[in-house]
């Protein structure tokens, strides 16, 4: 139950409890002996029942009961219904002892799915249980299961949630079940649940009552968040951006350099392999990107292309997909313009993870121009080291090529029926401004910030409405002070908003673009996006940055670079002076095949004994990876190898020429020599040129 403080045991109680434990132990020993010898006699069964009634957490005993049931059922003269009802009775007793026993609930489900003649009684029992503790999520889970078995209508179940919420709206489980049921009803456009707009409006009103009555109670807010999501979300997958963008022209210099949008590709990555990447960035993870759903027409196309999902977990769905046009084997004609036309979604097959089809078929066309080489051949092939000092950069006044990135953008998604969404969000904003004028609460501020963000998102597709970014940034800044416990979250959100603001227009992005001078103090003509010193704790708006080849994110507060894998052109990356605590946090880099120069100096690599990001990411023990044990062992040799797993996973798949890892706890001599072995392409490690 909830809100009941646990009382410390009195000494006499303690004695009683140790006597109880003694009894339980002997019971358990007897039971285990029975289990081992597969004894399913009545006495043995009674013993296990007794044990479970005292301690419903004894998982082994539940398994034994399952075996016993199966054993007895195999005797032809047994009466299944009476056996099942005995089991149900036992579970009921166990649940009365401990309402939250996973094992007991699971056993009940198992028995019911074997044969459920007593399913009506099940609903009655649940109503009883749920009256006592209306929030218990086990009971709600079971309720969903039973409702499914009984084929009870979703409308009826929805009414039940209404009743429970009406009695006490502090009930996450009930709100959650409501969202589950409504999703289904909306999806199949059940009678009375169409149109979606009408239903959502009613739900907004419903949850407002909870939020306004008690803004400090969070259960309603979660439902509200779900409603906002239902309001603004685009069910259908859409293309958000691409590289090259629509209408752009890419210049290929000679046969060893590419210039696209005025950017020459650094270090000749693509020209080395002679490939030209095409990146598609969707609004959500999709699957089914292949040569039939995405049709490419061009003379440059020589063979069937294989689209690759850019995902960390070998999944076949991803938000970003990439393909490489192989130009290496082609005899390219100088001064010729090759056109490339990409048609996306004209034949079905592109699906979101919940089965929605690609929304609007769209087209991207761009030109590839081949120019005679007139620059010095090959940079970064040795000798010169990439430096990131301010003196190495010069502001850019004119950067026309950025235009094509921003003008082309609108082409991808055609707004559809957004009027209602905008109206609804504006209504919500008014409501929450009202609430905040009455009562200053953090969750009110957070919701307002989210609503304003959603509105900006809708109207940026829509019209030139004034953006609310400044207010949102202020709200998050306030929240960081008001609610320090969650300041990291607010900081993340603020980072995303800042990045969106910076990358939203050509003019806003321009001040962050610089020409780069190399170590010999000559301008290379490379453009670097410098987003340093912005207090960023999270990376975002990557859909606007697909063109970037040189990126400076130093002097921020980044702990993760989730999403960075989409920047397939990236070849120089500065992540120094951030807060990366582990190599797994740098995982997305593994997908950046063109990355040559990496600066991760002055982070916290090796400072944390426990890697908190690990549960999100791959590790050799997680069996999600093909881990090259052989190579790993030859490389590490005598070194205490386990510490280097993560580093090996990261660097083993990169072909860096420069790496700076100084200023991290991990970077000792051992590690450096390990790196040299893992990265045979490396020319510079930290500030030293390798021989």
């Amino acid at each position: 139950m909830h809100g009941r403080p646990r009382k410390a045991l009195k000494p006499e109680d303690e004695a009683a409890s140790s006597a109880k434990a003694e009894k339980l132990r002997s019971l358990q020993a007897q039971f285990l002996a029975n289990h081992q010898n597969s004894i399913y006699s009545k006495e043995a069964l009674d013993l296990s029942a007794k044990l479970l009634e005292i301690n419903p957490e004894c998982y082994t005993a539940w398994n034994y009961r399952k075996l016993a049931v199966q054993h007895i059922l195999s005797n032809s003269d047994s009466d299944p219904q009476s056996i099942f009802s005995d089991e149900l009775k036992l579970v009921e007793n166990a649940l009365r002892k401990n309402f939250k026993s996973y094992g007991a609930w699971h056993h009940r489900k198992w028995v019911l799915s074997k044969g459920h003649s007593s399913i009506d009684k099940e609903m009655r029992l649940l109503n009883d249980f749920q009256k006592e503790d209306p929030r218990n999520f086990h009971a709600w889970n079971h309720r969903r299961f039973v409702a499914g078995l009984m084929e009870r209508s979703e409308e009826d179940e929805l009414k039940y949630t209404e009743k429970v919420i009406g009695a006490n709206f502090s009930n996450y489980s009930a709100w959650h079940n409501r969202s589950v049921l409504l999703s289904n009803l909306l999806k199949r456009e059940a009678e009375g649940y169409f149109p979606k707009e009408k239903v959502l409006e009613e739900e907004f009103q419903h949850v407002h009552n909870a939020i306004f009555t008690d803004p400090d109670d969070q259960s309603g807010w979660f439902y509200h968040l779900w409603l906002i999501d239902q309001t603004v979300k685009n069910e259908a997958p859409l293309l958000v951006s691409s590289w090259p963008s629509h209408g752009s022209s890419i210049t290929i210099i000679g046969d060893n350099g590419l210039r696209g949008c005025g950017l020459s590709l650094l270090n000749g990555t693509q020209s080395d392999s002679g490939t030209l990447p095409i990146i598609l960035y969707f609004n959500q993870a999709v699957k089914g990107i292949n040569s039939s759903t995405v049709a490419i027409e061009s003379e440059l196309l020589t063979k069937e292309l294989v689209w690759k999902p850019l995902a960390m977990n070998n999944s076949s769905t991803a938000q970003v997909w990439v393909v490489y046009l192989d130009l290496g084997n082609m005899e390219l004609q100088q001064s010729k313009t090759y056109s490339v036309e990409i048609n996306i979604g004209h034949s079905s097959g592109i699906l979101s993870s919940n089965g929605n089809h690609y929304g609007d078929p769209s087209q991207i066309s761009f030109e590839v121009f081949v120019q005679t080489a007139n620059t010095e051949p090959t940079e970064g092939q040795g000798g010169k080291r990439t430096t990131w000092n301010d003196t190495n950069f010069q502001k850019i006044d004119h950067f026309q090529e950025l235009d094509s990135i921003f003008t082309a953008d609108q082409n991808h998604h055609i707004p559809k029926s957004l009027d209602w969404c905008t109206e609804e969000i504006v209504k919500e904003i008014t409501n929450f401004r009202d609430l905040l004028s009455e009562y200053d609460c953090k969750i009110g501020k957070l919701t307002l910030a989210r609503l304003l963000t959603a509105l900006d998102m809708l109207s940026s597709q829509h019209d030139g409405r004034k953006s609310n970014t400044e207010e949102v940034l202020q709200l998050y800044t306030d929240l960081m002070k008001l609610d320090p416990t969650h300041s990291l979250y607010y900081k993340d959100e603020r980072s995303l908003i800042s990045l969106k603001q910076i990358t939203s227009t050509r003019d806003s992005l321009l001040p962050y673009c610089h020409y780069h001078k190399d170590a010999t103090e000559t301008f290379t003509g490379h453009v670097c996006l410098r987003l340093q010193n912005l207090s960023l704790s999270r990376m975002g708006s990557i859909e606007n940055l697909l063109w970037v080849q040189m990126l400076d994110l130093s002097h921020n507060e980044l702990q993760s670079i989730e999403g960075l894998e989409a920047m397939q052109l990236l070849s120089c990356l500065n992540l120094s002076h951030n807060k990366f605590g582990s190599f797994t946090a740098l995982g997305p880099l593994r997908l950046l095949k063109s990355l040559k120069v990496l600066n991760i100096s002055y982070n916290e690599l090796g400072s944390h004994s426990i890697d908190t990001t690990r549960y999100l990411c791959s590790s050799p023990v997680a069996h999600t990876e093909e881990f090259a044990w052989d190579r790993f062992e030859t490389l590490t040799g005598s070194v205490n190898a386990t510490n280097f797993w993560e580093a090996f996973l990261l660097f083993g798949s990169l072909a860096l020429t420069e790496l700076n890892i100084s200023g991290n706890a991990v970077a000792d001599e051992n590690f450096r020599s390990f790196l040299v072995k893992v990265l045979p392409t490396l020319k510079w490690l930290d500030d030293e040129e390798l021989s």
């Binding site: 009552n209 008690d214 803004p215 009455e438």
Partner: protein, 564 residues
């Protein structure tokens, strides 16, 4: 049940034995019954008499026929029978009917005959509207005294407040009710809930934040204004939750300005009442079979402890010692004299002032004192019987009409209670509605009640009943038709502790808190060394074994029994 008794038949009544008691109590209204039970519980010998044929006196629940005859027929206390010795001076008791200005009306002949046929199916409260808060004194006393085992309750389903031009609105009296409320704006919901939280925080001993001492002493209404609560919320808090009688915004007419600290106590009682019993949806409870069960439960409790009960036995005079003027005993209508150390008198009995007595002695002075009553105004009460509910699908509900909600000159709030047949007080398909308000005179009181009734009901038309053209639109609810109604006025007389004590008359409150406070105080004055219902140490009356739980699993319709 009770045909008028031949007064002379009293003499045939078997004599009561013994004749000496610690306490004689006359009248079986709530206060008298509680004192009888409390005195019995501490080992006093008690004789409890009632001239009526029913238990409960002013708090009885009666059949329609009995109610009508009780209200309309004046009491004629039988003249003194001969007998008794002459050591004592006999002072004749005068009975004043507790109800005056009685008006009774039927709707039409058809309903009259319906009601006559079903008269016995009614249990109509004389002291209505009355209900108990789940966490109030009465409930606690019932549990403490053991009287609760004789009673069963049901929750009042809904509490409404009447709003001018708006009609009935649910009283947003809890977090859940505020959430469910359909009439408050979102902002109002927020304001009201925050105020509740403030109060709860104040009441929570573990919380530091308290309402300041100064604020606790100012009028509650000023405090609510200070908290910037809008008039609508203020009105709900004052009249529908704290249940104040007088207009708190009008200093001229307000006889009882509630202080913040008392207002907070009212809110605390209300909020702890909501949800105290799982089957009761709101704050209020009502006994199955009517409010008359309450005094009876205490009488049964008293009887278990040895109290002797005699109904239909009027007391005709008090016996006073001639020299000292001290109370000695009573003479019954049967002619028997009985003696006790103390006497509790139903407030409708008085001794006549004795102008004829010229002697200025102790006795006269004492009798003079006894004849003086402390009258604190009046309560107007009204009862209606209808065949439909004031709110569809709601059987039992309470209604408060705050001051000025009916007309601008309305200075007191009006309380109303509708009880349906599931409480076994009326035939299926009928409803009893009780109304009451404080007033200065009978006309004012009746005017208020009629306005309150008219707002929700169609009253019987008195004369030249021109049929009103039925232009009711679809949206307007059709007002239930009243098939029978009654009005009466009761004087408010407070309790008194003298050599002869008397209990208070029914007050204008919805609950019994003030009455029970007065009763407990009276008991304390009579028996300063005795505890008011000591905690039982031995399980003398074992609890009945629980009846088999009925299979009806929703449990919605089962009554609430109080468990201590």
């Amino acid at each position: 049940m009770t045909e008028p008794q031949d007064p002379f038949s009293f003499s045939s009544y078997p004599p009561i034995d013994p004749i000496n008691f610690d306490l004689i109590v006359i009248g079986t209204a709530l206060s008298e019954s509680v004192i009888a039970a409390a005195a019995s519980a501490v080992g006093k010998t008690v004789l409890h008499l009632d001239p009526n044929s029913f238990y409960g006196s002013h708090f009885a629940s009666l059949s329609l026929h009995d109610l009508t005859s009780y209200l309309t027929s004046p009491h004629h206390p039988p003249r003194a029978a001969s007998g008794g010795d002459s050591d004592y001076f006999g002072v004749d008791l005068v009975h004043q009917h507790p109800c005056s200005d009685v008006e009774i009306a039927f709707c039409d002949d058809e309903s009259e005959s319906f009601l006559r046929e079903n008269s016995r199916k009614f249990n109509i409260d004389l002291g209505g509207p009355r209900a108990l808060f789940s966490a109030d004194k009465a409930i606690n006393l019932l549990m403490k005294s053991g009287a609760s085992q004789y009673m069963e309750f049901k929750g009042i389903d809904e509490s409404f407040v009447y709003e001018a031009n708006e009609g009935l609105a649910n009283v947003p009296d809890s977090r859940g009710a505020i959430f469910r409320d359909k009439k408050l704006s979102l902002k109002e919901k927020n304001q009201l809930m925050r105020f509740f939280k403030l109060v709860l925080k104040h009441l929570d001993d573990t919380q530091e934040e308290k309402i300041s001492e100064e604020d606790l002493e100012i009028p509650f209404v000023s405090f609510l204004e200070k908290m910037k609560l809008p008039p609508k919320i203020k009105s709900i808090l004052l009249y529908a939750i704290a249940m104040v009688d007088y207009d708190q915004d009008n200093n001229e007419v307000c006889k009882d300005l509630l202080k913040t600290k008392d207002g907070i106590d009212c809110l605390a009682q209300y909020s702890s009442s909501v949800g105290r019993f799982p089957n009761a949806p709101g704050a209020l409870l009502y006994p199955i079979y009517g409010e008359g069960e309450l005094p009876q439960a205490f009488c049964r409790r008293a009887a278990v402890k040895g109290c002797i009960y005699v109904l239909r036995m009027p007391v005709i005079s008090l016996l006073m010692e001639k020299v000292t003027g001290l109370y000695k005993g009573v003479r019954l209508a049967s002619g028997q004299d009985l003696y006790s150390n103390q006497l509790i008198l139903d407030p409708s009995f008085t001794v006549p002032s004795l102008p004829s007595l010229s002697r200025r002695d102790v006795l006269t002075e004492r009798l003079q004192m006894l004849s003086q009553r402390d009258i604190k105004g009046m309560v107007a009460r009204g009862i209606c019987i209808t065949k439909s509910s004031i709110k569809p699908d709601v059987s039992n509900c309470s209604v408060v009409y705050p001051p000025r909600s009916l007309y601008p000159e309305q200075v007191t709030s009006i309380k109303a209670l509708q009880i349906g047949s599931n409480l076994a007080v009326c035939p299926a398909g009928t409803f009893i509605l009780y109304f009451s308000t404080l007033c200065n005179d009978a006309d004012e009181g009746k005017k208020l009640l009629k306005a309150a009734m008219n707002a929700l009901l169609t009253l019987p038309v008195s004369e030249n009943s021109e049929s009103i053209p039925s232009v009711q639109s679809d949206s307007a609810d059709i007002k239930p038709i009243v098939i029978w109604n009654a009005f009466y006025i009761q004087k408010l007389i407070t309790s008194k502790f003298e050599f002869i004590s008397s209990t208070p008359t029914p007050d204008g409150n919805l609950n019994y808190n003030d009455l029970l406070d007065a009763t407990e105080k009276l008991f304390g004055q009579m028996y300063p060394n005795e505890e008011f219902f000591p905690k039982a140490t031995s399980p003398e009356d074992p609890k009945d074994e629980d009846e088999d739980e009925d299979e009806d699993d929703d449990g919605e319709d089962s009554g609430i029994t109080l468990e201590s």
